[in-house]
């Protein structure tokens, strides 16, 4: 009997899944160079494989168009063009004929030349095309070798997807009916695949480093997204153990499900709003199913990414309108474009910067590239008629920046009204607090804004001067550090003094240690991944505002993050 194997990774999305492994990247085909005499039939063999690969792709294009819409099929149409590329096809044929080698090695050699060419390009979009060529080559070779090729769009049964990494285009193709969870070699809690798993509410473990090397296709695996553990070929005892845990989890989930339609109230009847962070209108189903009382952050970058040109005003308007309509009277905070830094657009060339996180991004870029900004603002203003809209400007450092953004917003509003296009008169305009300068100046800013939303992911890294992606300084990324807490407290106090509300839309808002502290500080709105809402509601329903707020002074005068954490665990989270 084979022993089970335990792999540790990063817990990316909670839950337990048990199922068969589906290796997303086809295993590397062993390609041997073989001398060929009959080059005519070898070329014929290549042509047949090419034809079959085309048939595969045409089938996928049709299916993806029907199930997911035309946009998602574009990547496969591009693959088809590569398959038909004369530079590829003719060069392979020539190689077979002149060098008398087998089709497999000819295809792989020719493809390698192109892959090398694309990988060396400066443009990120072009570098990604190398992956397309690799994908297409694998498809041809798999037909030559008679090995079934499995792509992410071709699932037919429930599986746990195992991959080196999941790119946005992989996840777009995943058939959600069949994916019970996923495990990857690379990535961290904030990588694309992890965020995606949380918004789809499927368990995931990322950053295992080795999973694709050690798991065999169709092996049974247990995926524990609570602990970040993967067990390959589990023993009967382990299986029984995890089936029990899975049932417990389902039981807990059912308990939480009763809270879906409840208001979020403390034991002393104080109401706070629990909202969800979303990346696209497609996330709304999960938001509503988890009983969110609003959308606290709609990241609009996703409308701009994975495409070849800016989204038009109408496209944006439709997306914003859809979200506002579906949320009804519930507030929806839409953040204006936040690109630059680690988020680049293939069609907007931005010079490389030494310090992108301190550079030309978000509102700084929008105030400079006003055409881009104004288009988005018009789309938002038009959509304001369909719900409870709050417009939020990211990365505001100074009052002047807010004033300038607000003035542009007013100008666009005036322009629309002059054209006879209706704009609501009750939308709000606020800012994201993620720069320490803005947190310090909250008293001044709060006189002019309608609201604040604290973006803790950036606020923490700017306060501690520690890049959260840099493992060597990750120890400084301390959400409970009194320096961070003092800034947050200052923001809330200043806003309330001017009668404005304050939300929080970073990871911290859904964190069980942070929640009692923030509640005590008087935070009005907590926005988090949809899956965190019900546990947060349960936690808050067991806390008393009067009691937690009594500890605020004590927490603010503590000296270390550890001290704060220990205090919360001991005193505030007892129940």
């Amino acid at each position: 009997m084979e022993m089970s194997q335990k792999i540790i990774g990063v817990k990316a999305s909670a839950g337990i899944a048990i199922g068969k492994a589906f290796l997303l990247a086809a295993p590397d085909f062993q390609i041997k160079m073989v001398a060929i005499e009959d080059t005519v039939s070898e070329i014929k063999r290549f042509e047949v494989a090419l034809e079959n690969a085309k048939l595969d792709l045409q089938g996928i294009v049709t299916r993806v168009e029907q199930e997911m819409g035309d946009d998602h099929a574009d990547i496969f149409k591009a693959h088809l063009l590569v398959l038909e590329d004369p530079e590829l096809v003719d060069t392979v044929k020539e190689k077979i004929e002149q060098e008398k080698v087998n089709a497999e090695s000819a295809v792989s050699d020719v493809a390698q030349v192109f892959i090398g060419l694309f990988e060396q390009m400066d443009d990120e979009y072009m570098r990604e095309r190398a992956a397309d060529i690799r994908d297409v080559t694998k498809r041809i070779v798999s037909h030559l070798l008679g090995i079934a090729f499995a792509g992410p769009g071709e699932l037919t049964e429930e599986v746990i997807v195992v991959a080196e990494d999941l790119t946005p285009s992989d996840t777009a193709q995943l058939d959600r009916r069949f994916v019970k969870g996923f495990v990857t070699d690379i990535g961290g809690r904030t990588s694309h695949s992890a965020i995606m798993a949380r918004s789809l509410e499927i368990p995931a473990v990322v950053g295992t480093r080795v999973i694709t090397d050690v798991v065999k296709p169709a092996a049974t695996i247990i995926l524990d997204g609570y602990e970040g553990i993967v067990i390959i070929d589990p023993s009967p005892e382990e299986l029984a153990d995890y089936e029990r845990k899975q049932a417990e989890y389902a039981g807990r989930k059912a308990g939480l499900a009763k809270l879906v339609h409840e208001k979020t109230l403390t034991t002393d009847q104080h109401h706070v709003e629990l909202a969800a962070n979303i990346g696209s209108p497609g996330d709304l189903a999960g938001v509503l199913a988890n009983g969110a009382e609003g959308v606290g952050l709609f990241r609009t970058e996703f409308l701009y990414m994975g495409r070849e040109d800016f989204p038009t005003e109408d496209e944006q308007f439709l997306a914003y309108k859809q979200v506002l309509e579906q949320m009804g009277e519930k507030p929806v905070v839409i953040r204006t474009l936040d690109i630059g830094g680690d988020k680049q657009l293939s069609y907007l060339s931005m010079p490389e910067e030494l310090n992108p996180f301190l550079g030309f991004r978000a509102i700084r870029l929008c105030l400079d590239n006003q055409e881009l900004f104004r288009t988005q603002l018009r789309a938002l203003l038009r959509a304001s008629m369909y719900g409870n809209l709050k417009i939020m400007f990211p990365m505001i450092a100074t009052l002047e920046e807010f004033r300038q953004a607000k003035q542009i917003l007013e100008e666009e509003k005036k322009g629309l009204l002059e054209k006879g296009i209706a704009v609501s008169d009750r939308y709000e305009a606020g800012i994201m607090i993620e720069i320490p300068a803005a947190a310090m100046m909250a008293d001044q800013l709060s006189r002019e804004v309608d609201f604040f939303s604290i973006g803790t992911n950036d606020l923490i890294q700017y306060t501690m001067a520690a890049d959260r992606m840099n493992e060597r300084v990750a120890y400084l990324y301390q959400p409970y550090h009194p320096a961070v807490l003092r800034l947050i407290h200052n923001v809330i106090k200043a806003a309330h003094a001017n009668g404005k509300w304050v939300g929080m839309c970073g990871e911290m808002a859904g964190d069980s240690i942070a929640i009692p502290i923030l509640l005590g500080f008087g935070l009005d709105e907590f926005s988090m991944s949809a899956g965190s809402i019900l546990p947060a509601r349960q936690q808050i329903s067991r806390l008393s505002l009067e009691e937690v707020s009594q500890h605020t002074e004590a927490i603010l005068s503590m000296s270390t993050s550890e001290q704060v954490e220990a205090f919360v665990k001991k005193v505030l989270n007892q129940k």
Binding site: L81, V82, P86, E87, F114, F118, M121, M126, E308, S346
Partner: protein, 85 residues
């Protein structure tokens, strides 16, 4: 053989979607199609050839068509390159 010098007007150059459009139009003609940028020549029916030559807005290129429908091909492809989206 027909040759024509063209200054590319496509706002993002021969990138992704316009490159695909170019290839589709080029393949609809029987003539051989070539693009010459500086000293480099690429096959106008090859998506990989075109994308790897990174032709940007404002680049001067020479379009060459050779075959039965060479004039029609140059006319149609010139249109693709001059389009401003």
């Amino acid at each position: 053989m027909v040759e024509k010098k063209i200054v590319v007007q496509l706002s993002h150059g021969l990138h992704a979607r316009p490159a695909a459009t170019f290839v589709k139009v080029a393949t609809s003609f029987s003539s051989e199609i070539k693009i010459v940028k500086k000293e480099k020549t690429v096959n106008g029916k090859s998506i990989m050839g075109i994308m790897s030559s990174a032709i940007a807005k404002g680049d001067e290129i020479t379009l060459i068509a050779d075959g039965a429908d060479e004039q029609e091909a140059v006319n149609a492809l010139e249109k693709v390159l001059l389009e401003q989206e």
